[in-house]
Symmetry: C2
Subunit: 371 residues, 2 copies
């Protein structure tokens, strides 16, 4: 997607360096950081310099390629296992990170010369990135059918746009595609406290692409739904269990409950790489709890333009800070993937995860009836 008119990906490889847009500074500063080792890339994932399920997965794949590049020939396998361990320990919830690490490890040709294994790791990492962008584009092409010819007012939470992936995104890909096709789309952007990815990242992305949007405090979701101002909700996912339960940014579950109470369709958009068949239900998805400071302090540019951290709670206040919640599959009107739109459940999830050729377009169309 574009930044000031120039096409970018969120994460890419340049020689041996992983380059990525520093999302901690966005939207206040646009800066690309360059990471020379897999340890630096792992730290960027942990510190949320890069965030979003897909982008984390792409960065993890590239980090594995970096690890292969520097792994000594005589201890190659052990070095790769250690790199995998380091990366798996950065963020616990997003499925895509584990998918990328496992895919690079599994793809290394056993017994081949180290140079061949390094080249293979780099090729797999690049394929992960390219496939991620292609999946986003496909989700957009399918999902734009959810938008009417007339005006559609959709609500989204957190950032499941192109910044959360290599490109395009999941929840926002259909928004971009519908907008590019000339449909009249406007977006209610939920602020998404504590880190404010909606007000910061989603608002910035939509602004760069010229899509009309309005930021709301998270407290306003119920009111705008009750006023009849939301046609449907579309959000991303960090991990989807085998039964269709969805872990996503904290606050997603509340939007799903509110949407149901108002009979508003609620869609989750995610590539199939976010689905974790090894997780039977949402109860088995580990939910990251982060430090209280994200709740108690807020940062942004002050009147003089300098970034400042300000305290927003009483001195000495305690806080809890779960980063994700789980939305049961029953709350989803549809799960939109690059292979189609399904009503999520154990059977449809299994069908989705078979070869793409076997996805039945009929199921997609039936689930699209509201549009």
């Amino acid at each position: 997607m574009r930044v000031n008119g120039v096409a970018y990906r969120t994460v890419w490889m340049d020689g041996g360096a992983v380059k990525l847009i520093d999302q901690r500074l966005l939207p206040f500063r646009f800066k690309v950081v360059s990471l020379r080792t897999h340890q630096e890339t792992a730290e960027a994932i942990r510190a949320m310099t890069v965030r979003g399920a897909g982008a984390i997965g792409v960065a993890a794949g590239y980090a594995m390629a970096q690890a292969a590049r520097h792994a000594p020939a005589r201890a190659f396998d052990r070095a790769m296992a250690e790199a995998a361990e380091l990366l798996r320990g950065t963020r616990p919830t997003a499925r895509n990170l584990f998918y990328s690490v496992e895919r690079v490890l599994a793809g290394l040709p056993v017994g081949a010369p180290v140079a061949a294994r390094r080249a293979r790791a780099a090729a797999i990492a690049q394929a992960i990135a390219d496939e991620d962008a292609a999946r986003g584009r496909r989700i957009g092409a399918l999902g734009q059918q959810l938008f009417r010819r007339g005006r559609s007012r959709v609500m989204t939470h957190c950032n499941a746009g192109w910044l959360a992936f290599a490109d395009w995104g999941s929840a926002l890909a259909p928004v971009y595609e519908a907008h590019h096709r000339g449909k009249r789309v406007s977006v209610w952007v939920m602020e998404t406290r504590p880190r404010g990815q909606g007000a910061r990242l989603t608002a910035w992305e939509l602004g760069q692409e010229g899509v009309p949007y309005t930021v709301l405090a998270d407290t306003a979701a119920g009111h705008v739904m009750r006023q009849g101002l939301v046609d449907f909700v579309i959000v991303g996912a960090d991990r989807i269990a085998a039964n269709g339960d969805v872990a996503n940014k904290i606050g997603t579950y509340a939007l799903a409950v509110l949407a149901r109470a108002h009979r508003i369709p609620f869609y989750v958009a995610a590539p199939t790489t976010t689905i974790d068949l090894a997780c039977p239900t949402g109860a088995e998805i580990p939910i990251e709890e982060r430090g209280p400071d994200e709740v108690l302090r807020v940062s942004g540019p002050a009147d003089d333009g300098r970034l400042a951290h300000v305290r927003v709670a009483a001195d000495g206040a305690a806080a809890r800070n779960w980063a994700f919640d789980v939305t049961p599959a029953a709350y989803l009107t549809g799960l939109l993937t690059e292979r189609g739109l399904v009503a999520p459940g154990p059977r449809t999830i299994r069908a989705l995860m078979r070869a793409p050729g076997r996805a039945r377009p009929g199921a997609v169309r039936r689930a699209l009836v509201h549009a």
Copy 2:
């Protein structure tokens, strides 16, 4: 209640001056402002130097007393009508403001000397304040029965504590009373964006009284309810319609929907002065919409201790900022007033508004069954 061990009211009269705790600076600075005229007091209400339904009502009563003090003898009635008009235009939603203005106007003895009318206005204003504090204390005494002998974990939104009234508060009065009686109470304090009255004011109040609490981002309400960590929700109200619909701080409605989805009792605590029989339903309650800046910018002390305003959204972002929402009566487990706890509806609201002697204690006890 106490501030650093010293007893305070939120608003009081000192000679001809209205004094009040500046709530825009809390919890970061404790400062009392002194307002010499009813115009200054009206501006303090508009600017939210004083906020909270009861405290606004008390300040409005005192402002009417100030107006009487300065009204010229030959145009007394017109001056009082103009003062009433000015005050009614400050904040549209809270019922208590209108109640106080009307009560002072109606209580002025027709044809009496101006000195007598001035004295009467001052006496009514003081009675409004004293009755407000007494009602809070009574709500506390009744409401503490909602708390078990064992540990109770309650959730509250915004600030319906003593800062929102002359003293004691509505939603927090039962918390204080239960705590003073030695019951083990802990409070989930919802941050309450955009102005953060939960994280700032409620957290500060509870800290001053030694009640354990934990601040949560507004997005976390659904997750903590789903984890079984909330015994009941208790919030205040800005206006209650004749059918029991409740206007309160934006985000209240979402908590009510979430509480119902999790079968968690949801209580609204308010003095009967918050009830507006002239409003048939919540649909007739005017909902104040404030400027977008409260959503897009946040203020608090920076690392150097100075108050700073920081931008928390993308440059150029649009925002909407409704200050209140309406929760239909059907979502309330109970409405707790100084006259008892009722299941709100047209009939019970009418019964409540009759003479206090006619409130039936049986209805209170039946509604308390969950405790």
